[in-house]
Point group: C2
């Protein structure tokens, strides 16, 4: 049980018996560990995992533009033009987290929020769930960045969004968010 | 430098100075660690990361069907109907890895392979790159599963692929692969 103020998903009952589940790398950002699992052939295997709090990615559409943020990502040492995103807090829904993150990161308050999709990420390793939230009916308010957020806000024409999202350097959250919006007929 | 037979991407020169980079959790599957980074305001922050070898996801289309695999994922304790995927080996391209993984997991040999997209995943935490490969011109050969692969192969009509991919429980690699194929006009 994490009590760091962030939302984590509960796991289903396992289909393969778990002999042991050990958390052994606590970073304050994610937790690393392993489960010793009994496979269908009776063999035992250690499956290493890393648990990261649930995230929300926001597709915010105003008139004929989508809001992107340009942000340096120290983990991969690259700057990406990407969709706004952030961690969901305990007891927040995807839509309430999306509304808060969009306001904090970009200074836009959204009156309409809709969860388009939620899913697990990189399931060979991560315990990390991500929701994609559509935000519309926007009005400018005050941007309130966390003290470790250094980013600039960009407006990308809807007609260019797929090309901008897919152009390198890019990331999964941005490409997937824009393709979901396209699939939903929103672009 | 990893020498485990798997492919890892080299990182760009950092835009923010790195004071220290420490790998401290070696699992044999992924490596956890942190960089102490000087932020634009001069403050120092530890950015924790986890490095996982590069992966390939395969969208294999034969006639009017797409090949899915049904597989239990011990990390999240769920069975997903998902696109075939696997780790890229050292010196493999995305397309050669996609060809090999498709043959091993599903028993289909593809004669045409095309990289549709590659990108970084979960960039707030992971150093993990993923490529999406289209595989066509398929013929059945012998399936050769690794000894920790327990999966069944399914054929999903192209017309149902988006609905099947998006229906829960699902994962990012599968949704993104199918949406990319749709965006490219392949479905």
């Amino acid at each position: 049980m994490n009590e760091d103020g962030r939302r984590y998903e509960s796991l289903s009952a396992p289909e393969w018996p778990i002999r042991e589940s050990i958390a052994e790398y606590e970073t304050g950002w994610y937790t690393g560990g392993y489960d010793r699992v009994e496979q269908p052939d009776g063999s035992i295997k250690k499956y290493y995992w890393a648990e990261l709090a649930t995230a929300v990615v926001i597709i915010a559409i105003a008139d004929d533009s989508i809001i992107f943020v340009e942000q340096y990502r120290p983990t991969i040492r690259e700057t990406h033009l990407e969709l706004p995103a952030g961690v969901v807090e305990t007891n927040e829904s995807f839509t309430s987290a999306g509304k808060r993150e969009l306001r904090e990161e970009t200074g836009f308050e959204a009156n309409n929020l809709l969860l388009l999709q939620d899913l697990w990420c990189s399931t060979g390793m991560l315990r990390h769930r991500r929701g994609f939230v559509l935000a519309t009916d926007l009005r400018p308010v005050e941007q309130t960045l966390d003290d470790n957020e250094f980013l600039s806000v960009h407006s990308v024409p809807v007609a260019d969004a797929i090309e901008v999202a897919r152009a390198g350097p890019t990331n999964d959250a941005t490409v997937e968010g824009i393709l979901l919006a396209s699939e939903e007929g929103l672009l």
